[in-house]
Assembly symmetry: C2
Homo-oligomer: 635 residues x 2
């Protein structure tokens, strides 16, 4: 079991990622704060800070918002915590402290914390786990508390959430009444409390919720009947939706609401990593394999259908009616990261990278101001967002304020990226993501210069804590990197051992030792399993970690008429105009077929040679509304 790195031990100085982090510190977090404070006009009213002030008795008024409105504050605080590590900001920290003071005052004498129930329905506490997100909100606030503690050393929120956790433990458990959350998240929060405090009471409670889930598939139906009222009118008999259809250890396929699913799998992996329980680990591996080998888009997106924002069935991966929520791809990164801690394997790191560079990043406009919920692999502006079945698939990112859940999720992932880039065990330091900057471990400080993701060239300069310090540097090599060269101080490092996607470099390190990793990044043609109906005869292009896509603006109309020749010769070049400046485009001589006017004809459509251009998928939709397509017919 590997150790997570503390965020303060990572400095990010990366040509690709630093810019994203700057966008978030400078644009996204302040904007979100203003929204939570109801300072932005013409956006949906939040009232989330106000709810806490009212519950704290500091202000008169009524609760306003969704039953899970508190979670917006929690997610903002978690993002702020990571942000304070990346870019210290005394004013921001003061404001966050003030928010935490209010939260503490809103906590009830018995430890209970939830402004909706405190202000609106105190008599209904803990009666509607199915719909009412009390545990969900608590989980997010626990994550925020652990993050804020790690970032600032301040434990006020941590103590608040420990009291809340104690309160929850007084309600639910083996010797209390049984309960499971309608939307998994409390398990993640409790595990974060455990990791922050070392108190196994919290990991035990997390495991209780995991173990209890699906033991009684009728749980939510019985809860609904007993209670006699509903909040949303959610169907309690849809047990797949919230993964309560079977005990988690018996679940073999990724089912239901995809965000709920990956949050749960992440907690399962976290617990399995702690306990070493083979059955739970096996369930994680089975679900991982089903999800990533039968139900995942090439972009790392998951969730094939808008109906329940859910997984559907094996190999059902429609490109234009897809869901692939940004939050779900983020949850997949969480899950992958936890699996990596148990077993550093390229199969987890490759998927983590795939989701991060494609299905997660596509969620955010390049200017940081707009966000996608749904990340399609094909859009047609006359259809997507307009026609029945396609209304959820928007051809442009809407203003980020209208989707409250994805932006803060992008924030917390990208601002804590260091944790995904590194981990360590007693004798090994793992580099998972080639993140430029530096990272400090007990054995050494390692400086990284990275040309990734645009080029396969990374160097690690090692400063061991003492000369001749022995440890293993394990560097992930992507499965696509066929010929990888490792240099030590300019000389080829021979006899390296590559196992399961990582090259292991043992050495007694000298100050200034420099490891250079280089691999070529040809454009790759990716074929899809022929069990998938939608991608038959097609290829998707990838280069490095990036999936590429074709947009109308680069290729004229009717992208469906374009063909990638079997023997296409790809060239790639760095684009020099905004907003895609600095990104690598792929170009080649392709084919356009076009028919005459008739709808149906015996005449084969004519062909012409055309220059085709593809751009990284995550950057699509930044140049106005136009057609987009990832999978293209090969000819």
């Amino acid at each position: 079991m590997n150790q997570e790195i503390k965020l303060r031990n990572v400095k990010v100085n990366d040509a690709f990622w630093s810019e994203k982090q700057r966008l978030i510190t400078d644009v996204v977090i302040p904007y979100q704060e203003a929204i939570l404070n109801d300072e932005i006009e013409n956006v949906e009213k939040s009232h989330a800070f106000a709810n806490f002030r009212i519950a704290a008795g500091l202000e008169e008024g009524e609760f306003y918002g969704m039953v899970f409105q508190d979670s917006d504050v929690a997610k903002w605080l978690e993002g702020v915590a990571y942000s304070l590590v990346v870019k210290p900001d005394g004013e921001l920290e003061k404001r966050a402290d003030a928010v935490i003071d209010v939260i503490e005052k809103a906590q009830q004498p018995d430890g209970y914390l939830n402004t909706y129930f405190t202000l609106k329905e105190p008599e209904h506490r803990w009666q509607n786990l199915h719909e009412c997100h009390e545990l969900y909100c608590a989980g997010h606030m626990m994550e925020a508390a652990a993050a804020y503690y790690e970032a600032t050393g301040k434990d006020k929120l941590l103590r608040v959430m420990e009291r809340m956790a104690d309160h929850i433990a007084g309600q639910f458990g083996p010797d209390k009444k049984s309960g499971i959350p309608g939307h998994q998240e409390i398990e993640l929060g409790l595990m974060k409390l455990y990791h922050a405090t070392g108190n196994e009471k919290y990991s035990d409670l997390a495991q209780y919720f995991i173990d209890e889930r699906g033991k009684n598939p009728d749980y939510f139906r019985e809860e609904t009947e007993k209670r006699g009222w509903t909040h949303f009118g959610l169907d309690p008999s849809d047990t797949k939706y919230n993964q309560s259809f079977a005990p988690v250890r018996e679940q073999k396929t990724a089912e239901g609401h995809s965000v709920r699913a990956v949050y749960m799998y992440t907690a399962m992996a976290d617990i399995a990593g702690k306990t070493g329980e083979p059955e739970l680990l096996q369930a994680c591996e089975t679900l991982w394999d089903n999800m990533t080998q039968k139900r995942m888009y090439v972009t790392g997106g998951i969730g094939s259908t808008v109906d329940g924002e859910a997984f559907s069935i094996d190999y059902d991966l429609p490109n234009d009616t897809v869901y692939a929520e940004t939050c779900a791809a983020i949850g997949l990164v969480f899950f992958a990261r936890k699996m990596l801690d148990i077993h550093p394997s390229g199969k987890y790191a490759d998927v983590m990278e795939r989701a991060l560079y494609n299905g997660v990043l596509s969620g955010m406009q390049l200017d940081g101001k707009r966000f996608f919920y749904v990340n399609p692999l094909e859009v047609e502006p006359e259809i997507s967002g307009k026609l029945h079945g396609y209304k959820h698939v928007l051809p442009e990112r809407p203003g980020w304020y209208s989707c409250a859940c994805c932006p803060p999720n992008v924030v917390r992932l990208l601002m804590s990226l260091g944790k995904y880039a590194w981990s360590s065990s007693e004798d090994t330091i793992y580099s998972h993501l080639y993140l430029g900057g530096s990272a400090s471990f007990t054995q050494a400080v390692i400086d990284v210069e990275s040309s990734y993701p645009w080029e396969g060239r990374v160097s690690y300069t090692v400063k061991p804590v003492r000369e001749e310090q022995h440890f293993v540097l394990a560097v992930r090599i992507p499965s696509y990197a066929k010929e990888c060269r490792i240099l030590l101080n300019g000389e080829e490092w021979r006899n390296t051992v590559t196992e399961d996607g990582y090259v292991y470099l043992p050495r007694s390190w000298q100050t200034g030792d420099k490891v250079e990793v280089t691999f070529s990044m040809p454009v790759r043609k990716i074929y899809c399993n022929t069990a998938v109906r939608e991608n038959e005869g097609c290829v998707a292009l990838m280069r490095g970690p990036f999936v590429y896509c074709f947009e109308g603006v680069d290729n004229g109309g009717r992208l469906q008429e374009l063909r990638i020749p079997e023997n296409a010769e790809f060239t790639h070049s760095v684009m020099d105009t905004e907003p895609l400046k600095g990104m690598t485009a792929v170009e080649f001589d392709g084919i356009r077929v076009h028919s005459r006017e008739e709808l149906y004809s015996e005449e084969k459509p004519a062909q012409e040679k055309v220059r085709m251009k593809a751009i990284p998928y995550f950057a699509w939709g930044n140049r106005g509304k136009n057609q987009m397509k990832v999978w293209m017919l090969e000819k």
Copy 2:
């Protein structure tokens, strides 16, 4: 303007169609009668005959059923009328007469006829044209009345419906209150009354409803507001749904509910044929061209979306989420037939044939006992009928009793097929469909022996009313028939004139003159316009009028893995096992590609040669639940 042939002047003796007609007379009509009489157990209660008996004061009870329940009786009677011509049946006629007696008694003193409003809401008559189908039911009963009069010479129902028409004319018109039907059909019924009686009062009223439509696009909204109650809660602001968004002469694209649309277009063509009004005819042509050149499936199916059972936009023709209701394809046949009367052109006849042999016939199980509403061009049993977006696309025909509208529509079309096969003008007899049997005209009786649709071989033996009777025999030649031979009494008929899809054969005819028309029927590869995203890189196979499809049962699983080679050599042979016995299958050496286990791989899927087999599309779904696909990738 050509004359419609009276059904009693056509005798059908056709290897293909007679069997279908026998199915209908022997299976479908009696079954439907039993249902309307509530004699069948385990099907949805009809009560349709009972509603009339109660309204007639012959029985105690309450109305039961939909607001348009009366139309089931009307459609049954219309089918019975045609059936009595094809296969006289004294007992059936007696029972139909008895039903008509009841209908007459159910008519109110002021001519009003509608059991729902008479029994349930007499105070609400004519207040909710938007939802309540009063005019729709009247239209169907007028069609039944005209058909029964034509078939039997009995005019009791005709008189009933003339009184109803007079009643309607007393309600709506230029100098009365304005009104348009929510579901077009009254226009067709009134035109049938006009054709049966010659009374222009009815064609004038039909034209009134056509002219009035869309003049005030707010009509239904205003009606709804004024009335202050709703029946279904249908949205009156959706003016595309019922084609009230613009005056009909200004409509350029086929919009909204596809059955409503083609019923309206049929009435427009009928009226334009009568009045010769260029603007109305132009509108018909514009709508025809838009619909058949941009919004029609290769099967003649129309309606791309389940949302409103409607047209969507140009070139949006998804194969697996399609609607393509059987009734809509039938309505397309109606429209084509009326256009042919105005201008005999292959463009109408080809589409009429396309819809008839494919999108209409596919609606009925080969045993006549089950029916499709929705006629997909691709099904995958694990998805179709199950997953969100595909729930309306059933992989097998449900028991016909559960869909009350399509079976009687198939009945009335197929039992009156003679009217679609023939027409005449003063000096020309038109053969549109190669229907085997005979047809009597003022100039001659013509016997037809037809190998169509399986082979392109038809002979016409002419018995002129007197020797040397001069007239033109005009025989439609399908646009796909590239080399057509015409023999007269065994000798090549040279210098024939083929114009607009018809070969014109002028002659002073002798008794026994025999015209033989032969053309080859190679398997044709059909390409789709490249504006259609769904069929890119694909071909559909046709032979004669039939579209072919591939079913899992003939080709193993995963039809999407199959490819039709560019140079495929097709063979065709007659199948000899039920239920497809006697049909021509197409076989060839094709290609199957199949990937390894990975979801995504850089390895191109392997290929193998496989024997592929296609069957006529209309016969799909008769051998159990399996995959089906019309459009196949070409390689």
